[in-house]
Symmetry: C2
Subunit: 331 residues, 2 copies
């Protein structure tokens, strides 16, 4: 890929991100009651990457359609994503989201529960706008995605309480919690774009695999990012005692005192801030950062292989660029 | 209506209620993870009236179809209803629901938030099972119902904090919070039953109006029921300072000291348990209980008028029986 292409793709992404932001901004601002839609607008207007709606648009195009056929669905998946953020932030008792107060901190828990529910209803409303004749398959895909997100979130919570989590269980959890939504975005976009079953499947596999790569990259960034760029505490997963890819792999590979030290993280449900450096060192000694990069590359390659059947070269190129951007990201 | 008919309708209701319970029981019991679907089964297996699914079935029949066409949709609306109960109970910090511990008390708030979300996703899944060719209209109806429930719940919360609520505002709130779901059940049932637009509209109006009557009856029962039958504290709405039909009407009609006493309920956000009798007396003096009965009858009549176009006499009769049962109920 040439440097020019990359610049063009960046411009395109910026332009589409603005359009999506504008749809989201207008979606609820005039609705009443303000006690419900005011906080709804607060989260929809926050500064997200808009990766999921962009995937919907790119998939519609790759399947032979155009962006226009998929804007409402693109807004719908972002609303669904925001619904999960609002409810997850209550569950995690998180203070910050996208550089601002979380919704339940700015308002209160009850408002956040209800606003989340309401965002989901508006998401379905937007999804239904454009799917003439294809509503059953699109709605099934969206609903399946929603079910899996709930299942993934439940597994994630369950794993926090468990002493032992296998790598296979972890992979199943991130498939449901993160990757299934990206898969669904691609599936819906490709369907709206008029894709044949093979196109829809190709795009779905692309979404699923970049989703898995994306989540492991997230686990990796927790330890390798710089605090300024990452925007949150480095080693936060270790501090909370989360069983990430790195942690589970570390338990697998370590021996002796290192292994004992890791088992203590589980018993004590996390580590202290000043221990992060020591664990980073341990991860490096175990060559885990390279392991993680290898797995990320593996799933990215799988994603790229699955789109080899997409007809237009320019459509394939932007999907390659997006996959690369995600694994090269520093935040 | 003859006594025999009423017995037959009761039998029919009992039989269908069992069928619905069985669908609900099987809907999630084998799903994983158990940490999500176990609590989901707990609420779905609790002892509800199953009024909403029964409305779906009766509407399918009244529109010319049969019950069979609508069982999955019937289960879906009950799941939606249970989703609202689980989230509302967190917001109200309620201890009991249908004679058992509320879900968030038996488990915890985080579980209850997620289980509510998950029930909604399974509701959409069930709704999508049977609506071949009609999915857009059915999904729109369901989604609109969900939106209005959220809006109604938000208004209800807002009204608790406000000093002044007009009767018109109250009516708008209960239309959204309670009646819109019953309307939606009838609309979906009639659509699935293959009804013409006029049938769907007739049934929707029936649902909307019995919904309004149902909610005002609920307000009335709070003060007129006997504690054993009602299963909860008599005067609970007054104790919590809720602005019900009776309370708003009392504020309108009262003068002098009575009016001052009612205004104090707002300032103090409720009354003490031992004051309930005094307020019941006041309501009686203001002839409010008859006012309420009059309004309940008014909306019930509207409901019955709207179904005069339903062709089969037996279909109309059971709808009359159901409307009557709702306003004659003591719990």
């Amino acid at each position: 890929m040439t440097r020019d292409n990359s610049d063009y793709f960046n411009l395109l992404y910026t332009r589409e991100r603005k359009k999506i932001n504008s749809i989201l901004k207008n979606a609820v601002k005039k609705r009443k009651p303000a006690s419900l839609y005011g906080p709804g607008a607060y989260i929809l207007n926050s500064n997200g990457k808009r990766l999921r709606p962009f995937l919907v648009l790119l998939s519609a195009k790759a399947a032979g359609g155009d962006f226009k056929s998929a804007y409402n669905a693109a807004a719908a998946v972002e609303m669904l994503h925001n619904f999960t953020l609002v409810h997850d932030d209550i569950m995690d008792n998180a203070n910050k989201r996208r550089g601002r107060q979380t919704l339940h901190k700015k308002y209160d828990n009850n408002t956040a529960i209800l606003v989340g529910d309401s965002l989901l209803s508006v998401a379905y409303e937007y999804l239904l706008k454009d799917c003439n004749g294809k509503s059953k398959s699109i709605l099934n895909s969206f609903t399946k995605g929603l079910e899996e997100i709930c299942e993934g979130q439940s597994l994630d919570t369950e794993f926090e309480k468990r002493k032992q989590v296998s790598l296979a269980e972890y992979m199943e959890m991130i498939r449901k919690k993160t990757a299934s939504m990206l898969k669904m975005c691609c599936e819906i976009g490709a369907t709206l774009g008029g894709g044949q079953p093979a196109d829809v499947k190709a795009m779905a596999n692309y979404g699923l695999n970049i989703g898995i790569a994306f989540q492991i990259q997230d686990d990796l960034l927790d330890i390798t990012a710089t605090e300024e760029k990452f925007g949150k505490q480095i080693g936060g997963d270790l501090i909370k005692g989360k069983k990430t890819y790195l942690f589970i792999k570390a338990l697998d590979k370590s021996k002796g005192n290192d292994h004992k030290m890791l088992r203590k993280v589980i018993e004590r449900k996390g580590i202290k801030r000043n221990q992060v450096k020591k664990f980073k060192k341990l991860y490096e000694n175990l060559d885990l950062l390279n392991d993680a990069k290898g797995v990320i590359n593996h799933y990215t390659k799988k994603a790229l292989k699955s789109i080899s059947t997409i007809r237009k070269e320019s459509d394939r190129e932007i999907l390659v660029w997006l996959a690369d951007s995600l694994i090269m990201r520093t935040k």
